[in-house]
Amino acid sequence: MARLPFHEFDQAYIDRLVAADPETERHFTRYFGDLMTFKLRSRLRSPALVEDAKQETFVRVLTSLKQKRNLASAQTLGAFVNAVCNNVVFELYRSGARTTPLPDEYDTVDPRKPGADAAMVAGEERALVTSALEGLPQKDRELLHWLFFEERDKDDICRELKIDRGYLRVLLHRAKARFRERFAEQGTP
C-alpha cells in the first residue's frame, strides 16, 4: 500500500492505458488491484477466486476502453471499474451455484507466481507493514488482533473494554490512523 505516484484519471490517462503504456498499466493494475482485493476479500472465499475476479475485471475494463476509446467522463473510471467488478462477482456467484463444487485442493495455493520485481516490492512493503504494526501501542495491536485475527464478536469486545459500538469505531479509527502515520514515516527516506 505504498503511496502510488499521483495520476489524474483524465482522458490522457485513459489514452495512455489504451496505448498500453507500461507505467500507466502498472499504476492502473496496482491501484485498482488493491481496491478490488480489499472489496473482494469479504465476498469471495479464496485468494485464487479473488485473483481470478480481479484479472477478469482488468481484461473487461481494458477491452471496453480499447473498443470505445473513452468513457462518458474520464473521472468515472473508478466507478466503471467497480461496476465491472460487481458484474464479475455476480457471474462468479451464479456460475458457482450452477456447477459442481470445486475439489478441496482447488484453492489451497495460488500457483501463479509474481515476477521478481513484483515479489521484491511486495516483500519490501510487507516488511514496512510489519514494522509499522509492531510499532503500534500495545492496546492498538490487541484490538486489531481481536478484530482481524481472532475475529472475536464485536459486542464481546465492547463488553470487555466497557465501551459501546460507536467508541469501538473510534478506537479502530485511531489505530488505523496511527498505523498509516507509522507506515508513512518508514516509507519516507
Partner: protein, 219 residues
C-alpha cells in the same frame, strides 16, 4: 455517498467492522473507487487487515499471546506412561478447538488443520527440541509439567534465550500429569532462534519451577 459523509460517519471503520447494510456497502465501495483520499484509506485498511489476519504484529499480551488447553488425565500414577497417549489424544481436542475457537482466521483455509506439537521436557532431560510452525501459522507445544504445577496454577513466560519476553500468562493446570498445551502464533518467533519457556510459581515470581529450552526450526 460523498467524501464528507464518508468521513463524518466513519464509513471505513463501519465497513471494516461489517456494520453496513448491503446498500450502504455498495454505495461506499462505489465512493472509494472514485475518491482518491478514501482509496488511499482503503488501501491502508486492506494492508492492515490482511497483515493482522495473517498473524503479523500480534500483541505481546498476557491473555492473547498463547492459548492454553488443559487436558484431564485420570491418574497421576500413570502420567509418565500415558503422557505420549495423552498428548496424542489431546491433539484431536486441540485441532478441533483451534479450528473452531482459537483460530477463526484459519477457518478460511476451509479444511482440517494438521498440527505438529512438540513435547517439551525440563531442560535437564534430553536434547533441546526443534519446533516448527504448522501450516496454519501456529506453534503447538505440549509441556510436560513433571510435577512442576504449583497449587493448580502456574505462570509461564516464553522469552528469547537472550532474555526478551514474547508471551506470558497464568494457567490453571491439574496435578495429575496432564501436559500443558500451548498454541502460539508463529509470528511471535523468529526461525532459527532459541527460546526458553519458564514455569513460575505465581505466588513467588522469582521462583522458577522449571525451564524448557527449544529452538524454532527453519523450513
Amino acid at each position: 455517498m460523498d467524501h464528507r459523509h464518508a468521513v463524518e460517519t466513519l464509513a471505513m471503520e463501519r465497513y471494516l467492522l461489517d456494520e453496513m447494510t448491503g446498500q450502504e456497502r455498495d454505495a461506499f465501495e462505489e465512493h472509494f473507487f472514485s475518491c482518491a483520499e478514501c482509496a488511499e484509506d482503503a488501501r491502508a485498511a486492506g494492508a492492515l487487515r490482511d497483515a493482522v489476519a495473517a498473524g503479523t504484529g500480534a500483541p505481546v499480551a498476557r491473555r492473547s499471546g498463547a492459548s492454553v488447553v488443559s487436558m484431564p488425565v485420570r491418574s497421576r500414577r500413570l502420567a509418565t506412561v500415558v503422557l505420549p497417549w495423552a498428548v496424542a489424544a489431546s491433539l484431536a481436542v486441540v485441532a478441533g478447538y483451534q479450528a473452531l475457537v482459537v483460530q477463526p482466521a484459519l477457518r478460511r483455509s476451509g479444511g482440517p488443520l494438521v498440527l505438529s506439537p512438540v513435547t517439551l521436557r525440563p531442560s535437564s532431560r534430553g536434547t533441546e527440541p526443534v519446533v516448527f510452525a504448522s501450516a496454519g501459522g501456529v506453534i503447538t507445544l505440549a509441556v510436560d509439567l513433571g510435577g512442576a504445577a504449583a497449587d493448580g496454577e502456574i505462570e509461564y513466560d516464553i522469552h528469547h534465550a537472550g532474555g526478551a519476553s514474547i508471551a506470558s500468562d497464568r494457567a490453571r493446570v491439574s496435578n495429575d500429569g496432564a501436559p500443558l498445551l500451548l498454541l502460539l502464533p508463529a509470528s511471535l518467533f523468529k526461525p532459527g532462534e532459541r527460546y526458553v519457556l519458564a514455569l513460575k510459581d505465581p505466588r513467588n515470581a522469582r521462583l522458577t519451577l522449571a525451564d524448557y529450552r527449544f529452538t524454532v526450526g527453519v523450513r
